[in-house]
Symmetry: C3
Subunit: 339 residues, 3 copies
């Protein structure tokens, strides 16, 4: 593509363009891609969803987190290559969205967000150093860990109230009626699109559709895997009797979408044998989603994308054992770079 | 033994016998042994306890988990040697027992159990890959982690109710009277045998006695260590004032029995210096048992064998430092293979 | 110094003096120093604080933990060098203080304390073996982990009541009024000195001042960093609206003081670039302090120095990435030895 080549040339010539390129790739890395066009469409999708939900600050928070994260990585003088691929932008981006959505708006909230984005970057380097031992990537764990700390802390900070997370409560068994669902296309289609948009903590089907387009621009395998993740997780959640309202807004699918992209389109070579493995990965992501819903209830914080992180780690760690017996070569370097 | 040799020959000739052998060894691996006869007696003991408690489904769940786990390992094409030693059977076996005991019976429960057994096997490979770094074995951690997720999730799945785990509640200090115990042989003997049988979540003294026989068939050191674990943990629990009813059904001893077998009969060479080390390991297992009882109360799940896993890891990790100064050779390979 | 040289000579000649030296260094290692004079002043400071709070048993607990820990390390026959530097004394010392302050006094409490000190030493070896992989030190994690288990367990042990930790409760948002503070020197000065003394679970400004003197004897950088940690953490906590009474007794600063000493004076070479890095580390320690306050509320245990441990690990792990780009040599050996 002409546009693609000119853009690439510009990134080589102008530091500002290179910086913008790193940030756009960072936005695409939330869905495990490394593509500035994908990142641009994702940012547009996030803006749409944020404005539509009357929380435009979520879009500003996303961009603020992204830029602060990338800048922090440059100031820390860590090697340039991964910074340019956006690997230090996507976690702070998500921290930015979460803080701007869950906290009471105000000057202090923005300062807290910037601190959170800087620390998320440090945690990304730290997590990467630990996980290098086993050849698995940090995924969105730096965002999850840092944001859990930031949100838990707000209960003790009177000037930093959280306004949009559930009150701490002991978990209780779900009522049968709350799980009642008429499984129709009219129920499933928007709920699955919201599965995709909830990756950015937004329940908006247009945002979800735009993100799928963004994924397809970068990799059709990834887009297909995302759809498979949304379909399978929604059907499984409905089948075991999960809360119908939670399924409807995409809360049972956003982590599963990411697991599906990670297992199906990024870290493993697609193959027929992979299909059942990936299905178990998606299903277990839904189980972890429900489990963390129970486990975190008494402390009043959301799961964020932790179910994706835990399930994907558990299904990626066996990689060497599985792949070696198939006499595939280990794409070690690629794997570490992609994420 | 003639029977032993014929059996060994048959495993070499017939794939089905080899498969059965791997499963029987898997049953014996729950108590850290690698012996098909031990495994057979253990399965008989579990059947007895399950039928006696009027939950025969626990025995079916055990066998289902065992077979699904071993089969999954074969389908994943991981190296054959550890599969044949039963190292991929014992964790799914325990997952099968737990799911069939704690969940409402029904078709969905059995499907959930099979999913759980498959995932437990994946988690076993994942955990093994992580722990290889420090030369410690996964023990029953894959069972604990997977089953915790599966049980926590049931609170959110209306069609998968849990029926036999405590309701979530804030922990509170134990009443003095609840700890009152007349320490007599009539109290201690059945309670210690139940310590052994509670490894399989069954409080049945016949099952416990049979398991001790099974252990003795494989290793007298292991059987002796198990008895030591039961005696010491029960006495310590009574002494510090643990709930008398919990002690009576073996809840303070099942993890300690496993810790004792691991430290006293499997991973360390028996020696006089080991005795106090092992005693502290047993006592601290009881402390962790009580601690997790408190920590898990608000989320309403049982400790499973986590106290054994955590205590044994903490007391195995110093191995290299301790053993090297004694100028013992490090039986690295053996240790990793045994478990 | 003459005294210093004679002392050093005496440690070479007499086993008892060497043992005392190791214990004094152990006391100094709580603040990441390796200096017997510092350790002596710290023990005096702890005695003062314990007697002044009418809990002299806290001082006895500190010395008992210290001596039991060092002795256990010698009995375990781990290499002598780190034992002599006090690296196996400081964690059991803190376990001793915590058990003697939080538990109901009595014979059983002292036995529990000794068991805890022995296990803390085992956990120190275990933690060191794990963390060696990434070149970060255990810090006070062995104390935190072991004491959390010991305290959680007391809820289930009727004869071992805890008397001074908060009852389990669901967390709730802090009232604005509880955060109201007149920021004056009269408020800040004692609160900052208590930040230092709360490292030993004592809220006593004289103890804090003495510990600062002890630090200055060993390293002015460390003393300066400790003051910076106390000032920055207190101001940040007041600014975001933390509980005024908690700030006043030093609960928001003791972990931050340790983080500041670790980042500013021990594990990194002081440099201008380090200042903002260290500031973020201190601020995030306060965030983790508040976060763990929320997270541990339902299980009724205190944070201990966990915020220091977690924050310092997260800010130390990037070390290799950061330092290599600066073309500094990696003082690997020193780092591991110092702590």
């Amino acid at each position: 593509m002409d546009v693609g080549r000119s853009w690439h040339d510009a990134t080589q010539r102008y530091a500002l363009v290179a910086f913008i390129d790193a940030n756009l790739r960072g936005a695409s890395q939330v869905l495990l891609q490394n593509n500035p066009a994908t990142g641009l469409i994702i940012l547009v999708a996030v803006c749409w969803g944020a404005v539509d939900a009357q929380t435009p600050r979520a879009a500003i928070g996303a961009v603020a987190g992204l830029v602060v994260g990338t800048t922090t990585a440059l100031l820390l003088r860590i090697p340039h290559a991964p910074v340019r691929e956006g690997l230090f932008g996507f976690n702070p981006l998500l921290t930015g969205v979460a803080i701007s959505i869950y906290l009471r708006p105000g000057a202090l909230m923005w300062i807290y967000l910037v601190i959170g984005a800087v620390v998320t970057t440090v945690v990304t380097v730290a997590t990467g150093a630990v996980l290098k031992t086993w050849g698995v990537p940090p995924l969105t764990f730096p965002f999850v860990l840092t944001t859990w700390f930031l949100l838990l802390a707000t209960y003790q900070f009177a000037r930093l109230g959280n306004i949009a997370i559930g009150r701490p409560a002991l978990p209780h068994t779900l009522d049968q009626r709350a799980a009642h669902v008429h499984v129709t296309a009219a129920f499933l289609t928007p709920s699955m699109l919201k599965d995709v948009s909830e990756v950015f903590l937004l329940g908006n089907w247009v945002t979800g559709a735009l993100i799928l387009v963004a994924l397809a621009v970068s990799s059709r395998w990834a887009a297909g895997s995302a759809i498979a993740g949304a379909v399978v997780s929604t059907l499984f959640a409905v089948w075991v009797g999960a809360s119908a309202s939670a399924v409807a807004v995409g809360l049972y699918g956003f982590s599963a979408v990411l697991t599906a992209v990670a297992l199906g389109g990024v870290f493993y070579h697609p193959s027929r044998r992979l299909v059942p493995y990936m299905l178990f990965g998606i299903v277990f992501t839904v189980v972890i989603q429900a489990a963390l819903g129970t486990a975190l209830a008494p402390v009043g914080i959301p799961t964020l994308t932790a179910p994706f992180v835990f399930a994907t780690w558990l299904f990626l760690l066996p990689k060497r054992d599985l792949v070696q017996t198939e006499h595939h070569e280990l794409p070690e370097h690629d794997m570490l770079r992609t994420r």
